[in-house]
């Protein structure tokens, strides 16, 4: 048993922390207010090669492990949850799907520039009528000569209107159920592909969320990603790694909320004393600390197992389920500790409060993760 981080992990954690606190955190409120995607921030993250953390050097990546990825994601989310969500979709979903299932040519054409931040990636599984029940998706792809023809729509796709390339899951053989689902690479600007930005989200407003529409959208035959009929199976592998990312993201938002709470409770004076003197406030701080630390440990353990090539189905779901709850609790307490000032949006805690809820919905709802965990228990 060893709880120490390696030197690399510590150095990357420290570098990312310094970088994002200076280059990302100060602009979070600006983009949140305008519901604008922070292109500039993405360019900066590319400078330190943030998007390459989990990918090997041969593709221009950093060659670090998932523990490092979790640490870096926590730091990024503590600076700006929206940017972390966008980065997560770019890295864990889009890039990683291409890394896991793509051929040499696809990796050269898409993965390398995605890692360098020269292209922005998105990943679309969810549809208007198919969320938790992802297998029930309806988008179709039909081979016509040397082209696939896509028809259908995707819902809540992160980076939907700003991406350069999107991985889209579609049915290629209706008779085979989820073994009839395949993945495709669609470039922005392809005729028949359009997207609509979904505005007025509760939180994560600096992240672009969109509906994608495919109307007789023709893409080259070679844009099939992975084996035909393997798209859904590959998606499950992709999502498994993504859960470590979103789990760390939840810990990051929660931690930022706790740090703000500690700061504010020492400053705010009522009844002649800083409110941190009141036991009621202290208990809230203590509860958040314990839950977030437990969440961090579940997250790092899932990452540790993944780095060793061990199964993480249950562990990743446990981390995601618990961390998102710990995050929602922490932001709730943070607003409570800030009182009216917290509610008014003058302090960042109101943004954390709005951003946090996504963690219990995206990448599988809490209910779905309980089902996954229970399924593993009952099967054993």
């Amino acid at each position: 048993m060893d709880f120490d981080l390696t030197e690399d992990q510590k150095l990357i954690q420290q570098t990312v922390r310094e970088f994002v606190q200076k280059e990302v955190a100060p602009y979070a409120a600006y983009y949140d207010e305008r519901e604008e995607f922070p292109e500039e921030i993405f360019r900066k993250l590319a400078l330190i090669n943030f998007f390459g953390i989990i990918f090997p050097e041969e593709w221009g990546g950093v060659g670090a492990d998932y523990v490092t990825y979790a640490l870096a994601m926590e730091e990024l989310a503590a600076a700006d949850g929206s940017v972390a969500l966008s980065a997560l979709a770019h890295i864990s979903l889009c890039s990683n799907h291409i890394y896991l299932a793509g051929n040499e040519e696809q990796k050269r054409k898409y993965l390398v520039p995605l890692i360098q931040g020269e292209l922005l990636g998105a990943w679309g599984l969810t549809e208007p009528n198919s969320g938790s029940d992802a297998k029930s998706l309806r988008t179709t792809a039909v081979l016509d000569g040397s082209e696939w023809v896509l028809n259908g729509s995707k819902m809540f796709t992160t980076q939907g209107t700003v991406c350069d390339v999107v991985v889209v899951m579609a049915i290629t053989d209706k008779t085979k159920g989820h073994h009839g689902i395949s993945a495709f690479l669609v470039e922005r600007g392809t005729p028949g592909f359009s997207s609509v930005k979904l505005r007025n989200k509760l939180g994560m407003r600096g992240s672009d969320t969109a509906e994608l529409i495919f109307e007789n959208c023709r893409i080259p035959k070679e844009n099939l990603l992975g084996q035909e009929g393997q798209g859904f199976i590959d998606s499950l592998r992709v999502l498994e790694g993504g859960r470590i990312g979103i789990s760390a993201l939840a810990v990051g938002i929660g931690r930022a909320a706790l740090e703000e709470s500690i700061k504010y409770s020492k400053q705010r004076v009522q009844f002649g004393r800083p409110i941190a003197d009141f036991q009621a406030i202290q208990w809230m701080l203590a509860d958040s600390e314990v839950e977030l630390e437990a969440a961090r440990m579940l997250t790092l353990r899932a990452a540790y197992l993944k780095d060793r090539g061990l199964p993480i189905k249950k562990e990743a779901s446990m981390a995601k389920l618990y961390s998102s709850r710990a995050c929602v609790h922490a932001v709730d307490r943070a607003v409570q500790i800030h009182g009216g000032y917290g509610y008014m949006g003058e302090y960042p805690v109101s943004r954390y409060y709005r951003d946090a809820k996504l963690c219990e919905i995206g990448e599988g709802t809490s209910e779905i993760h309980r089902m996954v965990i229970a399924h593993q228990l009952l099967k054993e």
Binding site: D8, L11, I12, T15, G61, V62, G63
Partner: protein, 263 residues
Amino acid sequence: MNIIVCIKQVPDTTTKVRVGKDGKHIDPGGVKFIVNTYDDFAVEEAIRLKERFGGEVTVISMGPERVKEALRMCLAMGADKAIQLWDPAFEDSDPYTTALILSKAIQQLPYDIIFCGKQAIDRDTMSVPVYLAELLGLPQATLVVKLEVDPNARKFIAYRDIEGAKEVIEGLLPAVISTQWKLNEPRYPTLPNIMKAKKKELKELNAAALGLDSAQVGEKGSRVKVLSMELPPPRSKGKILKGDPREVCRELVRLLREEAKVI
């Protein structure tokens, strides 16, 4: 060019420091350490020179095991090699003995230019670069805000901000340059370079390897000694004067004169 950078690991500016039980040291418990702020400019300038003229950057630090982390950070920024100088006998070295230890290590290496931060943000003595130049018998330029180097002519031109004016000085290489704000903007290490840093050479040298005996270094070799260390007194509460503006002004002037003694 062979470029050497001397760096120090210091407590982070955001860390709450406490004085240790002996009243002479900072209590290292719970302290987060970083590369001294001014040394970042030194490392950056060294890497830029290397990028321009080719060569090698070697970072050197005197200090215990933990300074390896600081050295790795410099390797991650782009330095090529690192040397840690440590021996239990080095404990409590003053700026003079520190410079002596550094000079012995530098004398074992080829060098064209040596960079140091202008001062370490923990002790603020500003004297190591000066001693170092003296001990090596080299020209020096301190608090440099802009630097031009001509490796062929073996010359440098250094710009310094002095009270109300700018000073431009020229000197011969090799030289010791101490770096100040404004010289450059230190880069962030990229994540791949952090991963590569551990594959770079990090050598350890002790007193014997430097040809020093324990009487020359540490507290024994030092010319100044820390007698005591204490935290500044906690800031007292501000005073708010209320009432008739005329009265308030009169009272304010009286307080500034008699209590604060600033006018």
